[in-house]
């Protein structure tokens, strides 16, 4: 079967992409983003970290099979 790390990568990639996209949207529509420290755009860099982590997990495990 595929190792669990592959599925971790898939999940982080999909969620990271959604969060990053939301963060980019808020740059163009800041009125809907009124949280404390919203000027730091946490969705962008945190979503980006998730996306990169997810891609690393996928790439390092895509060809691995565990017994």
């Amino acid at each position: 079967m595929k190792p669990i790390w592959f599925f971790v990568g898939l999940l982080l990639t999909v969620l990271g992409l959604v969060i990053l996209a939301t963060g980019v949207y808020y740059i163009f529509d800041p009125a809907h983003n009124r949280t404390v420290l919203s000027g730091l755009h946490p969705s962008i860099w945190w979503g980006g970290i998730m996306l990169i982590s997810g891609i690393i997990f996928i790439l390092t495990n895509k060809n691995k099979i565990v017994e």
Binding site: M1, F7, V18, I19, T22, G23, L37, P42, S43
Partner: protein
């Protein structure tokens, strides 16, 4: 009283997580062919997989919310639960106890009691563990519904039933393997979903130095105020922390609770099984960087009149559990809120799945096969494991509705743990390290320890006995009483087991080979360099623990 508003994106993120969990259950179904696949995940996991699952099985969202709230209430003392209250026990399990557990090829902790002592001790522990698991599972379910209802405004019944059905579906499909897979997803969800709260909190407060400067002195130390219980928020002495929490409750939970130990049994070999709790210990030590920091940030913000931050109130009572959800609402925009809520949901569901997968194993092997149907085939046991999962979930739903009538959840949780785990640790310790302990000694010691813990709980609750009698202090708290009650229950079980063993029939020594230290050939890994052995990693973990305790003394 909704603290968090959800948008379409947040719901989408929750839906993606649920789809993943169900998809993994269906994917793993084709790899679950034998009863060992279902109950022990085929014994093929690496130490990293088993180690992260070992930690995650313990890491329910109830603990995340509760410990953040407790930090607000008690300060840094809560870190004792993650450091002295966990790490020494996890390392002891990996170094000293795991060789006996793993090498005897048992499928559960009661299974060890059967081999070391006899059938009646196994059944006693199997039944008490089964009851405990279902009660804890129900309380988790109830707590989840409470959180979702309070902070998101969701319907009680709907949130409980959806989560219960999801857990039932994926555990029934592929047993421990899908429970472990989802526990690892949960581990990543918790770190990615909640660590950002601490990071943003530190940024808002002005840096980590400011965090420790702006909280009261009694709240930012670990040990320096422990000689006088009136000087610390938890109102406990160092003796209560070291003996009650650091020794009995911690060792009782981490070394004998099948819920966590089952994950180590799923490892592919003895070395991986020994490394399982050792790897988990590093991540356990890191968790205060989520919960303790978030709790301290909440405390600082609540004391700052310009922050606009204050905890929710239920009537005149402060709702300390609201600290973490309120910080999520403060810092997280739409999208990240979905991630934070998913982290909490994942925590609840993984905790639920952990309880249910432990219950179905103990029911099937230690009660059903042991007492009801001794000749059951492997195929029948696999079917029984799946049936036990569904029945266990239904009973958990019943106990969840029952838990709604409890005045204080944590009160009952602590009572349950010190009832089962504290005396069992005395039985296991004597059983593994003293060869002349007899089956009757273990059985009557265990019964007396469990009964004394329960009687002390009732005695304190209804004030039949003075709290000072247990805690040696006029100033005390429920938490301090829990620590001391666990210590006395352990001591009573320990003493009764020894006394009864002196007068009853011993098992032949040849029956105890592989089960007791001194009668078992030591596995020395001479060909493996020291820096690759579990002992080396345990030593590093212990050193980090000592440094953390000295730094925050």
């Amino acid at each position: 009283m909704n603290a968090i508003g959800m948008t379409f994106i947040d719901w989408l993120i929750i839906a993606i997580y649920f789809a993943f969990v169900m998809g993994i259950g269906i994917y793993l179904r084709k790899f679950t062919k034998s009863e060992e696949d279902f109950f022990l995940a085929g014994r093929r996991n690496s130490s990293w997989v088993a180690g992260l699952a070992f930690l995650s099985a313990n890491l329910g969202a109830l603990e995340l919310l509760g410990m953040t709230g407790n930090t607000f209430k008690y300060g840094m003392y809560v870190a004792h639960f993650y450091w002295i209250g966990a790490i020494p026990a996890m390392l002891f399990l990996g170094i000293y106890m795991m060789p006996f557990y793993y090498s005897s090829r048992i499928k559960s902790i009661p299974g060890y009691l059967k081999l070391r002592f006899d059938e009646k001790t196994r059944v006693l522990n199997g039944i008490s563990f089964g009851i405990m698991t279902l009660l804890v599972s129900g309380i988790n379910l109830y707590a989840m519904a409470l959180v979702l209802h309070t902070f998101l405004g969701w319907q009680w019944d709907i949130s409980m039933w959806i989560s219960a059905i999801t857990v039932a579906a994926y555990v029934t499909l592929s047993g421990l393997m899908s429970a472990i897979f989802t526990e690892i997803l949960q581990f990543f969800m918790i770190w990615f979903g909640l660590f950002l709260v601490s990071i943003l909190g530190i940024i808002e407060v002005g840096g980590i130095d400011q965090v420790f400067q702006r909280i009261p002195p009694a709240f930012n130390t670990l040990w320096s105020t422990s000689s006088d219980p009136s000087q610390n928020g938890m109102m406990v002495t160092w003796g209560g922390i070291a003996l009650g929490l650091g020794f009995v409750l911690s060792f009782g939970y981490w070394t004998t609770d099948f819920l966590v130990v089952q994950r180590a049994f799923s490892a592919r070999d003895l070395k991986a099984a020994r490394m399982t709790p050792i790897i988990a210990s590093f991540f356990k030590m890191a968790l205060p960087f989520i919960v303790i920091l978030a709790g301290l940030v909440a405390l600082i913000l609540a004391n700052d009149p310009h922050s606009g931050f204050k905890l929710l109130h239920d009537g005149n009572t402060v709702n300390y559990d609201s600290a973490l959800p309120l910080l999520i609402a403060r810092y997280y925009p739409s999208g990240l809120i979905g991630l934070g809520v998913t982290a909490l949901l994942a925590g609840f569901m993984a905790g639920q799945a952990g309880n249910i997968s432990a219950f179905n194993t103990v029911w099937t092997y230690d009660i059903y096969k042991s007492v009801i149907n001794r000749n059951a085939s492997d195929v029948h046991l696999l079917w029984m494991g799946r049936a036990a999962t569904i029945v266990g979930i239904i009973i958990s739903l019943g106990t969840a509705y029952w838990a709604k009538t409890f005045p204080s959840i944590m009160d009952y949780m602590q009572a349950i743990f010190s009832w089962i785990n504290a005396p069992l640790f005395a039985t296991m310790l004597l059983g593994m390290f003293v060869s002349w302990i007899t089956p009757n000694g273990a059985f009557y010691g265990l019964i007396t320890g469990m009964a004394s813990s329960f009687i002390m709980f009732l005695g304190l609750k209804f004030q039949w006995i003075s709290t000072k009698l247990l805690t040696f202090s006029d100033v005390t708290s429920d938490m301090a009483a829990n620590f001391w009650r666990a210590w006395w229950a352990w001591l009573i079980c320990f003493a009764v087991t020894i006394i009864v063993s002196l007068f009853t029939k011993k098992k032949p020594k040849e029956d105890l080979v592989g089960l007791v230290k001194g009668l078992t050939k030591e596995t020395v890994e001479n060909e493996v360099p020291f820096f690759r052995r579990p002992e080396f990693f345990a030593l590093i973990s212990l050193l980090i623990l000592i440094i953390l305790n000295i730094y925050f003394w």
